[in-house]
Structure formats: C-alpha cells, structure tokens
Symmetry: C2
C-alpha cells in the first residue's frame, strides 16, 4: 500500500458492515485462463461468508466450485469522487450438507428467479479487505488486496 494514496484502509468489521448493505456484488474468477467477472445478488452469513443462490446446472457453479475467487462490492460517487470498495477472497464451494442447505433456504439470499434445482454457494471470508475512497483523491495506484 502507498502512503497518502487517498484511501483509508478498512478493518474487517467495517468491510463486512459495508458489504451487508450492498444489494449486488461481483464474482471474479478465471474462465478458460481469462479473468471473468459476473454481477450477482448475495447475502452475508453470520461469519462473513458470502452466500449465493444459483442453479445447480449453472456455468457459474461449474466455474467456481472448489476455486479461490474474489467477491467485490463497491459504492462510488463519481461526482464526489468518494466511496468504498470491499473484496472478500476465499474458496468457493457448493453447500452439500443437508442441514446447512435447510438453514440457508430459510436465512440465505433470496433468489430473483427461483429455479427447480437451486443450490447455495459459500465463499469463505479468508481475506477481507477494503478501502474507503477519500473525496477528491485518486482512485488510482492502489491495490485493494494489498497485504495489511
């Protein structure tokens, strides 16, 4: 990380608090050796894991099950040049435990379009990083996942 880069680094709890109010985030993964990114709705589990609800046959599940992915959400005011961005990086896995599936069916993310073969995917919050963009400073030159 760079000194005076116009960002304030956020603590894990601040990151999770911001993430909890974001309606949509973006799954970042690798597809055919190329970077790929897909907006999805989601919810946060009590331990900070990101939960997705999708079809068991979706290409997304095939692409990310067992892989390390990044999940990003942000809110940037381009007029004010201010906002925040949070990234959760960790292993993604389809939830296979029956009791856990039932818990998530009650408490997990709502599906925008229920399908007959829904599954939940959990992204472990192994690395949770975030930055607050300070008004009037650059968005550039900073890697959101720089080690703390």
């Amino acid at each position: 990380m760079y000194p005076n880069d116009g960002f304030r680094e956020l603590e894990r709890q601040e990151c999770l608090r911001l993430l909890a109010k974001a309606p949509v985030g973006r799954i970042v993964h690798t597809r055919q050796a190329l970077p790929a990114v897909l907006p999805v709705n989601f919810s946060l589990d009590t331990d900070g894991a990101v939960l997705l609800r999708t079809s068991a046959t979706s290409e997304l599940v095939r692409a990310i099950d067992g892989a390390v992915v990044a999940f990003e959400a942000d809110e940037v005011d381009a007029e004010a040049h201010a906002g925040w961005s949070v990234v959760v990086t960790g292993h993604a896995a389809m939830v296979t435990d029956r009791a856990e599936q039932e818990r998530l069916a009650r408490t997990g993310p709502r599906s925008w379009a229920p399908s007959p073969r829904e599954v939940f995917v959990r992204i472990e919050p192994e690395l949770v990083t975030g930055r607050e963009l300070i008004a009037g400073r650059s968005l550039y030159g900073v890697d959101l996942q720089a080690p703390r």
Copy 2:
C-alpha cells in the same frame, strides 16, 4: 450461454455505448496468483479501448502492464432486478508513444488527483461482451463472457 436465462446478450456497439456512460469500472486481474479487482475511473478511446490514467509508480501498472485483464462496468437496479453489465477483455499496456501520450493528455480520461508522473494505460477491446438483465429474472447461472 443458457436459453431463457433472463439475459439479453448485447452487441459490441451496444456494449460500448453503455460503457461510455459509466463513470467507474473495475479492473480484474491476477495478483500473487489470486483474483484481484479494483474500481477505477476511465474513458473509452475511439476504437473501444479502455483508457486509464494513473501514476507510473502505481502497483496497478506493475500488475497489469502486458497482462490480459478484464474491465467490467455495470448498472444494476436491485429493486427492479434489472440492469446491464459489460466486460472488455484484452491486453493492458502502458502507452509509451510520445504522440499518443500527447493525444491522450488532451482527449483521454481526467485524473481525479493529478500526480507528477502520470501515465496512460490502454486495454485493447479484444473481446467485448455484455448482457442486459431482464427485469424480474435471475442474475445467476450466466457467464458474461460466454462465447457468442
């Protein structure tokens, strides 16, 4: 791509038109073998290339110069369950040609915080894909970069 997935695939020109009105996008790249994602402001060149203006010493430049990256912008209305997402995938490279640098200094993206050693980075629009999310349908199960 999946039939009846609630998405309408967008043509290249539609993608570029939407991208041109987005104030902020996200650079997706690889950092220490992990997926990384960083919001940035940008502009589009006349050929659809994505232009960034950043510091020559930024970690972002070191990470993406010469690499294939994805650049994503979206606009999703979580209430209406509608919106769009566009991804440009291609090689990123620092602009080194002097005449080109001068042209971009006049016509390229504005910097939110001018730094003394600014450079331009160009992402070639080798693959331009996008989806319109149809209201009331799922965001799931679709890879935005699925081959046409």
